[in-house]
Symmetry: C2
């Protein structure tokens, strides 16, 4: 079940560097794409940094709305993740093409992709220089959610079933699934 | 064995979002710290974005020299990774404390930490606004190396032995080791 995550725990949803899906909505249009280059930037208020390439349809929706959602998909969604990362919403209706269902977000117009294990609703903090020079965007996380079968009470479960695990993009359609959880001896 | 990596393949060394070690050197001093918030930013020339907190000794060395090395440690180095991320080089000689050996880099003064599986030598691209506001740094990767038992011919090996696998920081001393490699059906 999708449950709210405290904002001070939001960074933990992406701290392990998984591949993400980014949704955006503007002017009656919605799109979703895969983004590997996304990282936490601050704890409280939570911020993140993300690369949204200039030539993508999602970027144009983010430019128009100043909002987006970063979500963490699971290994169960591998073909969809790779698919939405390799076609453009300008020529394909990705929602139909990949059978993606979505839900309303709490604070932004961009939708939440169903079946993910975490969602971060983001508002762009305008930084025009780095947006133009590097496609690099800074955003504040204004709401966060998680599947409580995967992340509960501010923590990822250690004993995640494989279908709930997140994946990391290596390159060219190859991904690595989260493996063993280990703890340093503090 | 540590071998050079072509610059256009450098992003692949960190694309999966592993925890990294950052080394820097300035004015006769050298330090190393752990950094989870690091991501690729461009392919060619390769760039990366990284958060270097204002109050760290390593940050002061990066500010002084304009250079650093990002390296990808392995799960074998877990206690050291967590250790260098939780003390300051201002009060501890981390090299001695954690028994870390190092080698000379090719193009920067910062040393390479022995035993890692990848190294990216970086030169800061000055972006004072985001450095001050978010501790966010943009850098060009000017040389890259990999352990050829882990990464060869521009690719991570699929059959990495556990000791060569990289880890991702979840939070508070908990990490997840890379698991199964999967391929989307392109």
């Amino acid at each position: 079940m999708r449950v709210p995550v405290k904002l001070e725990h939001a960074y933990r949803l992406i701290n392990h560097g998984p591949v993400t899906l980014v949704t955006a909505a503007h002017d009656g249009k919605e799109n979703v794409m895969a983004v590997a280059w996304c990282m936490a930037l601050d704890f409280k208020p939570p911020k993140l940094a993300i690369v949204l390439a200039q030539d993508t349809f999602t970027r144009s929706l983010v430019d128009g709305s100043g909002e987006f959602v970063v979500q963490v998909p699971t290994v169960s969604m591998l073909e969809m993740i790779d698919g939405v990362g390799n076609c453009s919403g300008r020529s394909v209706n990705k929602w139909e093409q990949f059978g993606i269902t979505k839900s309303k977000a709490g604070k932004v117009k961009a939708p939440l992709v169903d079946g993910c294990c975490a969602w971060l609703e983001c508002k762009v903090i305008p930084e025009e220089g780095i947006q133009e020079r590097y496609d690099l965007h800074v955003a504040e996380v204004i709401a966060a959610w998680a599947d409580d079968d995967a992340f509960k009470d501010g923590r990822w479960r250690d004993d995640l079933p494989r279908v709930k695990k997140s994946v990391h993009h290596i390159a060219g359609g190859t991904y690595v699934v989260d493996g063993q959880v280990v703890r340093a001896d503090r």
